[in-house]
Amino acid sequence: MIDTLPIKTSTGRPLRKEEMVINMGPQHPSTHGVLRLEVVLDGEIVVDVIPHMGYLHRCFEKHSEHMTNYQQVIPYADRMDYLASMNNDWGYALAVERLLKIEVPPRVEYIRVIMAELQRIASHLIAVGTYGIDMGAFTPFLWCFRDRERILDLFEMTCGARLLYNYIWVGGLSHDIPPGFVDKAKAFCKYFLPNIKELNDLLTYNTIFVKRTADIGVLPADVAINYACSGPMLRGSGVSFDLRRDDPYGVYDKFEWNVEVGKGEMGTLGDCWDRYIVRVREMEQSVKIIEQALAAIPEGDVQSALPKRIRPDAGEIYVRTETPRGELGFYVISDGSATPYRVKARAPAFVNLSVMSEISRGCMIADLVAIVGSVDIVLGEVDR
């Protein structure tokens, strides 16, 4: 698209006005990984955005078909959304358990909830912190990382790993929580709540931050539903939909907590600020859930009696769980053998990313960064 301006250059040729195509990524500081955005710019205004992905494709689904048994897929599920490994593991383990039609011991359910919610806080802390960096504020990021360290310490004490846990197994857990874990987790909850307020004072209600995020990248509820967005992306648009409540799994129905939705407090419903605040408030709700779960954790086994090589009956199942990024679905087909015939993962970040070009047309480059940040993508999961 080339326009001619009514001005002529000194040589008599008309002056041309062109749009600029620019590559944002895969090595750009604010693409949160190896996302490549092909951006068509008219000055500072974004005319179009085409996301290109696949730079981190590691054949998760194909790998899953070639393991020697169902349990061996877990470390691969860990590596999908590497910021929320616990939630991924749980999703896969739950799918296989439902395929096997087994129940896990109650202690396992409680520990899984605690781990998943701690992981949700850790993941949201990164989302919120890096969002601060996208807006040019560096300090919130490090404050978030400071708190995330505490969670990682808890995970390390549980299973030795700080990023890729391989802790939630099919039929239970790899092992029980260590002595002292409950107290430390309770201490963390007590320590963490005031820090959310501190973060709000520094970033959330900062006028510049609000001005940068309110009314930007507005995602109306109907568009969000049409694009199958989920998680904070959907709830930010005011749709109260959370699989932990609406398609219950684990023991979430035993706790008292609320589904946080965006209310358009600072601008339009479904803008970047709404998506951001949903994450911040979800952290508070997660703390609530963890506190209740820690108080009610029962004694018992952490592994149900399963044969070493699991052979589910031939059949298929789709199980969806709520990860920090939204609806993570595992579609598992079994042909009765010891390895899955097919594992398909519905990655929430991948689906959420697809709406990006729709909501970022006509914004400025700086807003594009705000929008990408508010989608909260993890490229490991987008590309799998």
Partner: protein
């Protein structure tokens, strides 16, 4: 003790006199006079690098460097040594002469500004009678340098950063010039040294608080001078590309802005120019509104040597404020940046100028 130093300073003609008195002196003197700010900038850049890292670290709940010397005090030196040794790459498609020239031009623009800054009652590089105007004019060279670097890099992100920077610096020079105008109106002089002498006698005579005028006028002036001073400080943040106005090098949007393609010593010079510029605008603000080298306690702790101390202290206070803001605030967007300049600062300044003019005329 102080009298001895004062006498010694007066005895040395090199330090004791301004450019007007120096016309009869040998060229070596000019070199010494010119080199003094450079020495200051180099030392100050090292100190500020260290300070910025430590301040940011403590804001962010971490320690910053701890191993190079006591609490890492030698780290800035190590950083400079590393940058000197580093390979100085020039992109193949870059416009080579412009690419090489740009960082030096940016630095020259800032460095030249130091010539008119009075460090003490006895030392000013060049006692120009239009010192303020000269600083405003000469610091505009920075824009040319930045635009040059962005264009010569042949990188779209750099060009974006340079364009933003040019627009930003040009827009913010107007509010800062208008703010300076208020000070010039009250003192009736463009000579920074004279403006400084005007504010002699302690904190109550500083222009931010109305200057040494009769008490009724002073009280009337105070709200306007304080507003002007505040606007000057905010505008100076934009002029030195510091948060919340650091759009030209907005990392999350433009990678590194105009200096994306620079490495090694050229990058170091950009860096040094930025730090020097931070002190330059702080120095101008301190001289115009906070009494420059004047002691806040009247004649207590005043004199040419204490003058240097007070001036550097005031300048460093503003540098500290800039660092503090940088690690606290997010960044504005381009249109919001322009909005702040044209629709917020300018009307306020027009009101201030009008009011100050009316109060002075009574």
């Amino acid at each position: 003790m102080e009298d001895i130093i004062k006498n010694a300073l007066e005895a040395i003609p090199v330090l004791g006199h301004s450019l007007a008195n120096l016309l009869g002196t040998p060229p070596g003197v000019y070199v010494v006079m010119a080199a003094l700010p450079l020495v200051f900038i180099l030392l100050y850049a090292l100190v500020t690098m260290y300070m910025e890292m430590k301040v940011s670290a403590h804001i962010q709940d971490r320690l910053a460097y701890m191993y190079t010397g006591w609490h890492g005090v030698l780290q800035p030196v190590a950083d400079i040594l590393k940058l000197i040794q580093k390979e100085d790459t020039i992109p193949a498609a870059a416009d080579k002469p412009l690419f090489i020239l740009a960082p030096y031009l940016v630095f020259i623009g800032t460095y030249a500004g130091f010539a008119a800054i009075p460090f003490s009652s006895m030392y000013v590089g060049s006692d120009l009678n239009i010192g303020v105007l000269y600083i405003i004019a000469v610091s505009s060279i920075v824009v040319v340098g930045i635009l040059m670097s962005g264009w010569a890099s042949n990188n779209k992100w750099s060009l974006f950063g340079a364009m933003r920077s040019a627009a930003q610096l040009v827009s913010y020079e107007i509010p800062s010039a208008l703010a300076i105008l208020v000070a010039v109106m009250i003192t009736g002089s463009m000579n920074l040294q004279e403006i400084n002498h005007f504010q002699d006698g302690g904190i109550q005579n500083w222009l931010a608080f109305g200057g040494p005028l009769p008490i009724a006028k002073k009280l009337l002036l105070m709200p306007f001078t304080l507003t002007t001073f505040f606007i000057l400080f905010v505008a100076s943040l934009a002029e030195v590309n510091r948060t919340p106005f650091d759009l030209p090098e907005a990392e999350s949007e433009l990678v590194q802005g105009f200096n994306t393609e620079y490495s090694g010593m050229k990058f170091a010079i950009f860096y040094m120019a930025e730090y020097a510029n931070m002190f330059l605008v702080s120095g101008v603000a301190a001289t115009l509104f906070l009494g420059g080298w004047g002691s806040p306690f009247g004649s207590f702790m005043s004199g040419p040597v204490w003058g240097v101390f007070w001036f550097v202290l005031k300048g460093m206070f503003f540098v500290f404020l800039q660092v503090w803001l940088r690690w606290t605030l997010p960044r504005l967007r381009v249109d919001q940046l322009m909005y702040v300049s044209w629709k917020v600062m300018m009307p306020f300044l027009f009101v201030c100028i009008l009011a100050v003019g009316m109060i002075l005329s009574f």
